[in-house]
Symmetry: C2
């Protein structure tokens, strides 16, 4: 329990209106998209890097764990206050400080909502490609901490590829800047990229410098229904082999389509057992040529139907199927584990076959969709928590899914991160020597293990106690 004196000190730092120990407030900040819940002792809404610095110094002095939090939309528990202590929200740091059209750069605070930022830069003809599914509510700070992805990453890269500088409060409370507003820079270690995807364990992000691109002149969307998942997978390979890198190359397998049919009124022919949504962007005149070439390449691969959008509205309609997936899945089966393994893209068909075999073995439905273009598959293990034994089955299946991905040269997570959800599985992917190297960095920068403790690396001596 935090003493009154400490609460008073924290209050003096952030101000009366920006601290709460009320249970109702603490509950609001106790969970994320994993739907697990851990109650913090106090919730802070600091208004500046200086305030965060003072909080971190106090936390080190008193050995209070601090859990930074954006919108709490993470899938792996990265922001959960697993050991009580302080939840440190960046919501008030929500300003777009500058959009520099001359240098194609923006400077923002971490609490800016990703989708709102995208709209702001698009207004002046610029483009911020990373598009995690959560973009309507997730924050740029959270996106940087987790290195968020999204459909467009196949062509443009992930969050990290657009972050060129940061202001960060270190675990011990110093305020430092990393990188800067230049396109190149090699003075000292690249702390910017180290902090991207470090899940809030190495510093609290208080300012972000973002590299932007010119907004592509136009885009064109096509939706292709295939009679088999193999056809769809071969189509992905055929497109890439032809040296075309579309903006998105999204896929859904047959089971996903079944859920969509069940859960929505969308018309999907029965013969369709897989879907690709292929979007290309760039110079207007060039797009037709690309779309025609893609149609030609995939024609022999069991195409049931091809729909091509000619207006933004039609494009939006084609995306409906993809956008309805999460809701449809939840309708069919409210409980699911959504993993996001990533394999070299040529290995997607083999991965899907392995997942099917795992589903058969454990007698549990597994639904696959995701970003085929970069081999990032969302493997959804459909459990019913009320059915006894289902959770155990799911845990077995998850572990086998991870092992299968790793056998194919892949990773356990393409964009969701490790948090606490995947921490126990870290030894499957990271060798002891590499884990030691990573932990040495964490220990050196956060000697008191104050900042987001227990995330990424499973803390065997001090495990997190999960509620069931």
């Amino acid at each position: 329990m935090l003493s009154d004196q400490i609460i008073n000190e924290l209050q003096a730092i952030v101000g009366n209106a920006n601290i709460s120990t009320e249970k109702a407030d603490r509950i609001c900040y106790s969970y994320d998209a994993t739907q697990q819940s851990f109650l913090p002792e106090v919730v802070l809404h600091p208004g500046s890097a200086e305030e965060i610095s003072r909080v971190m110094k106090l936390a080190n002095r008193e050995l209070i764990p601090v859990f930074p939090r954006g919108a709490g939309s993470g899938f792996t528990g990265g922001s959960l206050p697993t050991k009580g202590g302080i939840v440190l929200c960046t919501e008030r740091l929500d300003k777009i400080l500058e959009i520099d059209e001359e240098n194609l750069i923006a400077t923002v605070e971490p609490g800016v909502i990703t989708g709102q930022f995208q709209k702001a830069v698009e207004k002046v003809g610029l483009f911020y490609p990373p598009d995690p599914a959560s973009l309507k509510f997730s924050t740029l700070g959270g996106n940087v901490a987790e290195c968020a992805g999204g459909p467009r990453c196949v062509k443009y890269g992930v969050t990290k590829d657009f972050i060129i500088g940061l202001e960060v409060v270190t675990p011990t409370g110093d305020i430092i800047t990393t990188g800067g507003p230049t396109m190149k820079g090699v003075v000292g270690y690249d702390l910017t990229k180290l902090l991207c995807g470090s899940e809030g364990t190495l510093g609290v992000i208080t300012r972000i410098i973002i590299k932007l691109l010119p907004l592509p002149e136009a885009k064109k969307t096509m939706l292709v229904l295939f009679s088999s998942i193999d056809g769809a997978a071969q189509a992905v390979s055929a497109i890439i082999r032809d040296k075309i890198i579309p903006t998105t190359l999204e896929f859904m397998d047959g089971r996903t389509l079944d859920c969509v049919r069940q859960g929505t009124g969308l018309v999907v022919p029965d013969e369709a057992r897989a879907v690709l949504i292929i979007e290309v962007d760039g110079d207007r005149e060039f797009l037709d040529k690309q779309v025609n070439r893609i149609a030609e390449l995939i024609k022999p691969l069991g195409v049931v139907e091809t729909r091509i959008a000619t207006t933004p509205e039609e494009s939006e309609a084609l995306w409906q199927i993809r956008r309805s997936v999460s809701a449809s899945l939840r309708k069919v089966n409210p409980d699911k584990f959504n993993e996001d393994i990533c394999v070299p893209r040529s290995k997607v068909p083999e991965m899907i076959r392995k997942v099917d075999a795992i589903a058969d073995k454990y007698q549990i439905p597994i639904v696959n969709f995701g970003h085929a273009g970069d081999g990032n598959i969302h493997v959804n293990i459909m459990v019913n928590k009320k059915v006894s034994g289902d959770i155990l089955k799911a845990e077995g299946a998850i572990q086998e899914v991870f092992k299968a991905a790793l056998e194919l040269g892949g990773t356990m997570s393409g964009e969701h991160g490790v948090g606490i959800a995947k921490a126990p599985y870290i030894p499957l992917e990271i060798t002891p020597a590499a884990a030691l190297y990573m932990k040495a960095i964490k220990r050196a920068l956060d000697p008191n293990n104050i900042l987001n403790p227990g995330k990424i690396f499973f803390d065997e001596e001090n495990p997190i106690e999960y509620d069931d």
Copy 2:
């Protein structure tokens, strides 16, 4: 002095043919492009990560400094054996292990020559953009260690942007892998990007996984002569503001052109006081449109002459002027300090004005050329080491150039790194808190300070003794 016993142990690790203590051999590996020289005690040519691991373990046991080395073409002394000890050459690790056309990935050993790698991937229609001027002899391992750049980085990004995985021998001799052959991956800290540009201080790179792009269908080169540097700088801004990102946007100032006129037979009209070489690449049909648009944009900005290449040979001829710069400069003045500051690109004209003022103040010629598209300017301070006082003047000028770049939001180095050449200036750019954060990482991973000690961070307690 290394004892016979240690030499014998090293010999047992790498084999008779791959160790030398001969003075002639040691001299060969004593210098780099800075033309400074430090004699190592022994030169090793290991043939595998395992051998390097054993060398590192021995070095830690005996506290012998180890200096990894690619081709020794660095501009800042990153590979110099400043404290004697072991030079560890990666020359024998020179195999391209795989070019995976399906996944647009290559796996190579660190000793592969960058230019040869580019040719190999281009043969199968793939593309590795980073193109440091040294590419005909520098190695990919060295390029990764320094995070090399080059003209094409304005459109495609620097070396780091293409490196997705590494095998590394840690300073304490463990062999670890980082990242992998997937386009996304967020499990654990991004050691890959941390190691890129860490100048061989955090690990010895023994394998590199590289992301490739489809080779653009065609490219088009234009050379534009301007009557003033301001016109050229405005042209850069006008192009970017129009949302065109050319493949290269190289510039040379009037003094550079004077050197080229003096040093070569190339015809450059007297009115020309600045040059831009603009290259665009992509779909063939699209290029004419881009070139015409660029010509239209820059027309009002004091264009003396525009030359457009229509064949690869003509393109090569246009590049001649740029390629002749280094040799021309050396002809006019054999001694020069080549700095590579980088500023936000809109600040290039202001930076050039500041450099001109510094040249006037110190009464020393300064010649500017480089990558205007990303604000990365090669500032060449032309000294004559035989003229007494010239070195002192140059040192004053360099420091002022750095300060000017930093005042404009820039950095002391866009692509050359820090090494020993810029280490004394680190406090100008990196605040004490950020330097502590970086040094904490170095100390945690290399507790005995065995691997490339004294690089990046100026070692005040144990400074390097320079020969004059």
